[in-house]
Symmetry: C2
Subunit: 341 residues, 2 copies
DNA sequence: ATGAAAGCGCTAACAT
DNA sequence: ATGTTAGCGCTTTCAT
């Protein structure tokens, strides 16, 4: 057989129920003009044939798409998993369907954006890569979309993000006020808006506290790689004068360093004070509890989703210069302590 | 403006390039019949207009869909996040696009299945809910799909899963051989194929070792709730005679109990021996390391994806009675020790 | 080497 | 109360 799964069409239902296609359409839509008798017959035949209306055909007739594209760099990151869940919930309760694309480089990103547009999705929620292709930019700027977390200036769209700079600044100040000076920062690439802001926050803490960052150590790397964080941490620990404190700039890095510290039997805050970026549940019970920079990521995603869907439903353009900043906060647990000696 | 984001059609390109629609189609598809000159003109106009072909229209003409539906109960579960990532990667490198649906109850599941079929997805990869509606079953049995992890007998489809029973049996035997008898099992509902198999494995360990399960304690609950695991654990600890060992049957439960134990300052293996289901990265560094039941979940998902896509591409029916069992294994770390006294 | 026309499955305007 | 027809954007005969 060639078509093992051929689905019934309105035509098939019409033939079997001995009415016209339009009667089928109307009966199934509960149009008041159709007699109760015909309706019930049509509905019965439809069920019998397992008829499921073809959304593609409907959309060609002008129905709006129910597909929302979500483009993320990495779904195993707790951060992004939370976003996916929140948006999925949001879409689902508003009649939309989430199409998930994982793209961590500009080429894959371009491909997926093209595909989503080609499928005439209703809109795209995107955490952009660091340097999107020109092509991607042109496409997106003529298509409903929102940026989440990371922000590309060239996009004429709304953005929902975190006050990354303040957040890192607060965390760093905490370490400085405990007397630490040889503080290391391991964060994401400064090519990302988030990576850049977080790094600026780290620097600003020194400035605002009037301390020269002479002994600060800064390491940057790809945000979605566990490997990078591990390597950076090992490098730090192998130095003749390892830092007395460390603050991280991505969740993946936080997870990586926790594992390395555990492997090497180094404990916080005795050997080193740690402020971890992000708030995965397990951070609570790492050692004596990890001091973390927590962000209301679920709220952020839900807000973003609701705003976006509202605008789509209202057929308002989504490129109003809207931007929304969620406040991240420092949660102090056991991994940070005053500098000994 | 009514259509803030109107995309160009082949018609628009044709008009501007002063050719017919069919020439546009052929030029863009690099049909050899079109002259090089015309081709380049058409392509230029297309780029200029930001033309992106309408996939819906193509599919109506018979092109096959590139959409694969993935239905999961819970994306924040590390287990399922891994699956989503693996399948996304798999789809992406075979020209497919992943549509993610989170459904944890039969109604939502039915809705999402209908939507995916209505959108004429190419196929569905599903981790079914415990008791799918009859409607869902009928729909799926006439639509290309595979079952992942959980298995519904009524589906005439292939299944890719884990040897749940052996896995729990092995973990339980480990505890029994350490001398434990008052062993608690906290697992997922036995209405799920997985929950049932794991429970049977727990029981079988006693049988095979010739030990009466007089002192075994069994607690079952919803698999995607963190709350349930926490409550169950607290209940156990508040008993006059708490168990000396515990084995869990879902990742969520494992995560929940680790947090409770940490909160209450109870440590393994001194106060209680623990075998945790699943292998989230943080389990390595809980206390002195958690003894876990590890499953090759990424491999499983990839295998499943490759098999499914291959069958879709070949237009083979996917309901060949294929089933694939991945082996889970016990990794012994610091949380289990011989029963004292 | 290119154009005209049919048709995929559906809905809505226009008959009857 | 129901049928007929046109057309959404595309590909694919079938003409020229």
């Amino acid at each position: 057989m060639k078509q093992p799964y051929k689905l019934a069409t309105a035509r098939d239902v019409a033939d079997k129920a001995e009415v016209s296609v339009s009667t089928v359409g109307r009966a199934l839509a509960d149009d008041p003009r159709i007699s109760a008798k015909t309706k019930s017959r049509v509905k019965e035949v439809a069920t019998q044939l397992g008829y499921v209306g073809n959304l593609l055909a409907r959309q060609m007739r002008g129905a709006k798409s129910n597909l929302i594209g979500l483009m993320l760099p990495d779904i195993r990151n707790h951060f992004y998993a939370t976003i996916a869940e929140a948006l999925s919930e949001c879409c689902s309760s508003n009649g939309y369907q989430l199409a998930l694309s994982i793209a961590n480089d500009p080429e894959t990103e371009a491909r997926h954006v093209t595909e989503l547009i080609s499928a005439r999705a209703a809109g795209i929620v995107i955490v952009p890569t660091a340097n999107p292709k020109r092509e991607t930019q042109d496409l997106l700027n003529n298509f409903p979309h929102v940026q989440l977390l990371r922000r590309i200036e060239a996009y004429n769209s709304a953005w929902f993000g975190i006050n990354d700079e303040d957040c890192l600044c607060e965390g760093t100040k905490h370490l400085l006020s405990l007397g630490h000076r040889r503080i290391a920062y391991i964060g994401g690439s400064r090519e990302l808006s988030t990576g850049k802001a977080r790094w600026k926050g780290f620097r600003r803490a020194f400035t605002e506290m009037g301390i020269e960052p002479d002994h600060a150590i800064e390491i940057f790397g790809p945000p979605s790689s566990t490997r990078f964080g591990a390597d950076a941490m090992n490098d730090l620990l192998n130095r003749p004068e390892p830092p007395t404190a460390l603050i991280t700039g991505t969740i993946r890095v936080t997870q990586a360093i926790l594992e390395i510290l555990h492997q090497r039997g180094i404990s916080a805050p005795d050997d080193i004070s740690i402020v971890g970026f992000g708030d995965a549940p397990e951070f609570k019970w790492w050692g004596q509890g990890l001091t973390t920079l927590c962000m209301p990521i679920e709220d952020l995603a839900t807000t973003c989703g609701l705003w976006f869907l509202f605008h789509l439903d209202a057929e308002k353009p989504t490129h109003l210069q809207h931007s929304s900043l969620a406040r991240a906060t420092l949660t102090i647990r056991g991994s940070t302590a005053p500098l000994a000696g």
